[in-house]
């Protein structure tokens, strides 16, 4: 890619390694290790306590609850990146959605109308673009990457917020993923059940595309 086509915003995060397929694999491993490091001590404590003193079972249960809830909180953070925001002026929203519709194909338009998310196929995987974040489903993988990223103008209608992100993604996908903050990387099922119900069909569609 020519220097001219690198997202200028990448300069604001110059210390970050540019995201590519290898970087995504490393990020995924890091998330797995981090989650394991959070969960294993609690499970070990729970098991040890019951082994030493069966009456400590309630404390063990609390430790196990911690082991369960920490990955869930991370997944919730991931799902939150595509949570719909409050809509503003109706006319502006309609215009913005119309403009966004011109940028995508019929299938993506229809999915956006149902879920509020835009499906976009990239070289890194299948993206679901929201107003202030994006989900990336890797091809042939059961993992989802949740990125927190937004257009700089907070007063934009939702359709425009997605369109700005979509254009940046199309111009430089790796740069887009580099600028965005990785909020979570983990099992698809974990993210799916934390998504608001109307968003889940979008993730299902992205997964189907990832396995096509």
């Amino acid at each position: 890619m020519s220097a001219e086509q690198v997202l200028p915003e990448v300069a604001t995060v110059h210390w970050r390694q540019r995201v590519d397929a290898d970087k995504l694999v490393r990020d995924a491993r890091l998330w797995t290790v981090t989650t394991t490091a959070h969960v294993v001590p609690f499970v070990a404590v729970a098991g040890t306590m019951v082994a030493l003193q069966p009456l400590a079972a309630p404390v063990s249960a609390i430790a196990l609850a911690h082991a369960w809830i920490i990955p869930e909180l991370y997944a919730q953070r991931g799902a939150n990146v595509v949570r719909p925001r409050r809509k503003g002026d109706v006319a502006a929203e309609d215009r913005a959605v119309g403009f966004l519709g011109d940028l995508v194909d019929h299938e993506a338009r229809e999915l956006h109308a149902r879920t509020g998310l835009v499906l976009e196929e990239g070289s890194l995987g299948i993206w679901l673009m929201g107003e202030a974040g994006a989900l990336l489903v890797r091809r042939g993988s059961k993992r989802v990457y949740c990125y927190c990223v937004r257009a700089s103008d907070p007063d934009l209608p939702s359709g425009d917020r997605i369109a700005h992100l979509l254009l940046a993604l199309r111009a430089d996908e790796q740069g887009f993923a580099t600028v965005a903050n990785l909020a979570f990387s983990g099992a698809r099922w974990r993210v799916r059940r934390r998504l608001e119900p109307q968003l889940r069909p979008a993730l299902d569609a992205a997964v189907r595309r990832a396995y096509d």
């Binding site: 990223v149 369109a163 254009l167 965005a180």
Partner: protein, 68 residues
């Protein structure tokens, strides 16, 4: 793309030098405001432009993005 949904900043034709000049001026003004010029180059593809491509059908000014 702005708070109103979108606004047409300029319309031009290559046969109308005055309109082209006005469009170039509008383009530079938006660059000065921190926006970036983007041209769609095909389905799912876009290219950033630093100068107004006068032969393009549509040039979109996109806002900078940042990690949230």
């Amino acid at each position: 793309m702005d708070q109103t949904g979108h606004t047409t900043l300029a319309e031009w034709s290559t046969e109308d030098p005055a309109a082209v000049e006005a469009a170039v001026e509008a383009f530079r003004r938006e660059l000065g405001r921190g926006y970036y010029g983007v041209v769609t180059t095909g389905p799912g593809q876009a290219e950033m432009v630093r100068d107004l491509p006068v032969d393009a059908d549509l040039v979109i000014m996109r806002a900078p993005i940042a990690g949230g």
